[in-house]
Symmetry: C2
Subunit: 658 residues, 2 copies
């Protein structure tokens, strides 16, 4: 029985929800495969997430290992393979609650960095789970600056071994997933020393735990780093190495080799390494960022049509909170962003595929652009989406604050995406460095990559909009975004040059411009996201109301960006105050339009109740019943554990005797 | 042994840290009393928070009850009383980790809403803890809209009792603190019915649990609402009432009484009730908002001078991350805001004291202004401070994400302050309603309260600043803030009138303006905060460098607000683009200036290591050692609980037999 306040929202959809779902999945056949995977996973009680909000860190970890082991069996049963069409949906169906994710990174690093002999030896072992791998790069003292890692690996020609050490506390490996309690092996990144000379960071396969009884190997100190804001199911670990010896063959040697006599040989191109980072950054956008944002929108929007509070019109029934303009202004821009970033992700995937084909033909020219875009968008999308999930949480008031709403854990998990795989500020500065370089090149008439050719065409014009409807024209707002991106890049390039010409050293000048460089990088990504959304909408099927509603969302995404950042558009008079009033009016009008389709738009994300795990966001909208049913299952619902020892003596007035 | 990277920061302080601490405390004598309380609490092992990050919700709750009971004993021992000068420091010293906070609300509600007879009966019982009280207002279906509460209390003339019921699931009481497992009594808010007629919401004292064995009383269903984002130590509860009868004397009857024959009598003024809400909103700013923000600043800034990452200048040592402009731009505005809001809080306290004196003389004229300011500032300060704590967390990268940094729990706790005691959007709209009313009155030449007289004096001028140094003049930036606040209020008032004149109904027109009304309310509060900070600085002692550094912080607070919200200032040309460049330059210059005093400025907050409970923020800055020591204590540091059942069979390749 669906809550009628939710049911009525579905009856007035202006478009076909099923068609939109297929569009998001990349075709109806993909939707079918995805649903089959979800069905298989969710009908299996081992994969249940039912008690998740009530479990301790130890229980969460144990359940994740159990699921990971069971998943191997399930995949064989179902005939799913790692290269099959189902594979991409498994992680989504499990909501990421599974162990051994680093085992895959362990395998990938051997495949990418290992010699053919190493691949032939280790990959079968890993595939058959005769070992459990991890990936030990980050240290207590070093995250983003890899050159600064302090772990050492000294080559001993006498024994043909590397001797690995943690020379000081800051060199301790810290954070590697699956390493705290599960992994038997890991890839350790360490400074290579041969005959006293340092050759920089290299990867070494190191055994951590006995394959017989799981006890720590000699010289190894390892454990769990303790509680975190989320990821309770993962045993992020620490690792201290004391004279740990590994054979010469354990240094991954596709690109660099140490010969028996200690000769160091570099071979092949390492550029492919940067490509790996790019791949990871792009893939995390869909798995770790878009899904939580879409889930948060689903929960908050469904709740907002079921929750009634206060009266909009005197004498009438209390209003659905989504009918309040302020609630629309909180939630609908997040919904528009979820769609915008979905299409940005498609754009990045396509770019990546094209890049991959080029690289296979030994053409590495695309790498700088790909690196700049993947860095900038990783930062921009994680940042916006994290803020978006927080807005959804707060928009649900007190109930959003309960773990049972599902929103707190979505927030605490997505927040991490701003930090891992490149801290966002660092990434934006890498994008900015690319922008400045391309701007200088373009100004000097040199060719630049496609995504930044616009930097060459600096136009001094003004926004031509004459009324609020003009701001629903993609040309108008895309041009405005372009103008801002060009201005911020060119003005920061000018400041940088001025500082250098006035005698400030290059690195100091750079540091003094970083706040503005970050702004320029964000403006660039925002422009590309708006442009890509508008171009995507143009190509959509006009049938079934899909194109029309997507056009509304595109407009909302664009206008929300202007409305929230008016200064950038007003600054040089490109947009006038009167035009900004038109933007505001058009933006507020759009909220009321999209509000009508809000529920169908989140239904199209097609999340099952089990994957949402939310008392507020269930498909049937029986919010209050769910909250009460779930709360009763909490382990805190028993007689007060403080009664006999503390409450009873207090109430019986034996306070003074305590 | 203090980390030398932290120690060196303290040697170059431009001001006396001890004097600044005394200033923040309100005098050296207050500092002395506070430190004595902290010393007494922290030296008592019962109050230890040492294992907090490793405890389950049940363990946290039990510890909080234990502390609450022990506190009664401690207070007697130390000679501390609820009215004594030490009392305000106890909660801070305990970092709020204590039960029975609602017991105090229970007592206050009886004192405020009860008759003299009721006070004489219940207050002594509560004071002696012969019962444990709670406060049951919020329901599953109603939070902000109190008139909509659905619990009923029907008067039965035959038995002279009220019969309390939860007529439907949405009427279930939900959230009351201390009620889930501890309380024996509560104040229930319910719709009063006499002879079938509804008289609205009234408060009733209801017994929940037996005083003999703590079992639930007949007709009562109560329990804990389960896991939340924080507040694990509090047993927020639910309550279902089924024909629960309480005697006529249990309706709190200072303002309304039901006579034996069912006659309803209203007496006295209820205006004082609004005053109570105002008091609570103001008091939570210092206890629940400023302290977490100051702690987060302390942790993030100390960590940022100890953490070295990457090189600012090639060939040199890795740089302290606080030397990067982007890191300064994240943290220093939060530090400036912490000081700004500290002084805003002083301003509100003074206003409240003055208001209280007026009310005692039966003059209620100050209430609307007090209500508007306390609502607006509650919303503005909780919002800014929550965002500030999140920025501090993210600025510490991966280590900030560990619970051991202390930052995640500060964030998850302060976030609740945006929701409780009035959801922020609702509060801002109340402030806006006051602003619009006053603007209309002022425009009509009528007198308005002091804080809004500026609305009458709409000036059309331009910002007179000629260079970046002019923007360090409080007159210049205060005027700019005032201009924006007036513009947003007047333009929204105009939009509202236009809509109404064009035939839109009043309530629809209001709803269509709410996004802009919220902006106006925020601008008003921001203006008052800037103005108050500037006026405070002017009055400070010029000795010991205090005034100078506070002036820098005031400038930073003001310019950061402009820099982050340029559109509001550029919109009508009050500030030109060239002037905005001056703001940017002045703002970025200030970051470098304040960076030098950053550590002394957080030292002045005078938090002990135990109260920070942070591996990153300790006074000695031994960050990495602390993280490692603390992680080793985690209950996750034991042999994998998944080994025997899952890992061993997997690794021994018995997968198929599982």
């Amino acid at each position: 029985s669906v809550n009628p306040d939710l049911g009525s929202e579905r009856q007035t959809a202006s478009f076909s929800v099923e068609r939109l779902t297929a569009l998001l999945d990349g075709g109806a056949e993909q939707t079918r495969i995805r649903r089959a995977v979800v069905e298989a996973i969710e009908s299996d009680p081992v994969f249940s997430r039912e008690n998740q909000y009530f479990q301790t860190q130890n229980e969460r970890y144990e359940a994740a290992v159990k699921k990971a082991v069971h998943l191997q069996k399930k995949m064989r049963e179902m005939g799913w393979t790692e290269n099959g069409p189902e594979y991409t949906y498994i992680y989504r169906a499990l909501s990421g609650d599974v162990a051994f994710l680093l085992h895959r990174v362990f395998m990938r690093s051997i495949s990418v960095l290992g010699s053919d002999t190493q691949i032939a030896k280790w990959i079968p072992l890993a595939t058959q789970y005769k070992l459990i791998g991890s990936y030990a790069q980050t240290e207590l003292g070093h995250g983003t600056y890899l050159q600064g890692l302090e772990t050492t690996a000294v080559f001993d020609t006498a024994t043909q071994e590397f001797i690995l050490n943690t020379p000081k506390i800051s060199a301790m490996k810290w954070w590697p997933g699956d390493m705290g309690r599960s992994a038997t092996h890991t890839v350790v990144f360490a400074q290579l020393y041969i005959h006293g000379k340092c050759y920089g960071i290299h990867p070494f396969i190191v055994q951590l735990r006995s394959l017989r009884d799981h006890s720590l190997c000699p010289g190894i100190t390892a454990g769990d780093i303790g509680p975190k804001m989320n990821f309770e199911h993962i045993d992020n670990g620490y690792l201290l190495l004391k004279n740990v010896r590994v054979p010469r063959e354990n240094m991954l040697s596709k690109f660099c080799e140490v010969r028996p006599d200690g000769t160091y040989v570099r071979q092949g191109s390492q550029q492919i390494n940067y490509f790996t980072m790019t791949t990871v950054r792009i893939s995390l956008i869909s798995d770790e960022v878009l899904i939580p944002l879409k889930k948060a929108c689903t929960i908050a929007i469904r709740y907002s049509v079921v929750r009634r509070q206060s009266k909009l019109k005197p004498g009438e029934q209390e209003a659905k909170i989504l009918d309040y303009q302020t609630q629309q202004e909180k939630l609908l821009p997040q919904l528009a962003a979820a769609y915008a970033f979905h299409f940005t992700n498609d754009y990045l995937q396509e770019l990546l595929d094209r890049g991959y084909r080029e690289i296979e033909r030994k053409n590495f020219d695309v790498l700088p652009e790909l690196h700049a875009l993947s860095s900038g968008f990783k930062a921009m999308i994680t940042q916006h989406s994290t803020a978006g999930v927080e807005i959804c949480l707060r928009a649900c008031g007190g109930h959003g604050y309960s773990l049972l709403s599902g929103l707190p854990s979505l927030y605490t998990k997505i927040l991490a995406s701003c930090i891992y795989e490149g801290e966002n500020t660092i990434l934006l500065l890498q994008t900015a460095r690319f922008l400045i370089k391309c701007f200088m090149a373009a100004s000097a008439g040199q060719p630049v990559p496609p995504s930044v050719t616009y930097l060459a065409a600096v136009k001094r014009g003004k926004c031509p909009a004459k009324n609020k409807l003009d701001f629903l024209s993609p040309d108008i707002y895309t041009e405005a975004y372009q103008h801002v991106a060009v201005r911020l890049t060119s003005s920061t390039a000018a400041k940088l040059q001025d500082l250098i010409q006035s005698g400030v050293k290059k690195h100091d000048a750079w540091n003094q411009c970083t706040v503005q460089l970050v702004q320029a990088a964000k403006a660039h990504c925002h422009y590309i996201a708006v442009k890509n959304f508008a171009e995507t909408v143009e190509k959509l099927e006009t049938k079934a109301g899909i194109q029309k509603i997507m056009k509304h969302l595109c407009d909302l995404f664009a206008l929300h960006g202007i409305f929230s950042n008016t200064g950038a558009f007003l600054y040089d008079g490109y947009t006038s105050a009167a035009q900004m009033d038109m933007v505001t009016a058009a933006y507020l009008d759009l909220l009321a339009v999209i509000r009508k389709d809000a529920v169908p738009l989140v239904d199209a994300f097609d999340f099952t109740d089990q994957s949402l795990l939310s008392a507020l966001g269930s498909y049937d909208g029986q919010v209050y019943q769910r909250l009460y049913e779930w709360a009763q299952k909490s382990p805190t619902n028993q007689m007060s554990p403080a009664y006999e020892r503390y409450l009873k003596p207090l109430l019986h007035n034996t306070l003074s005797k305590l």
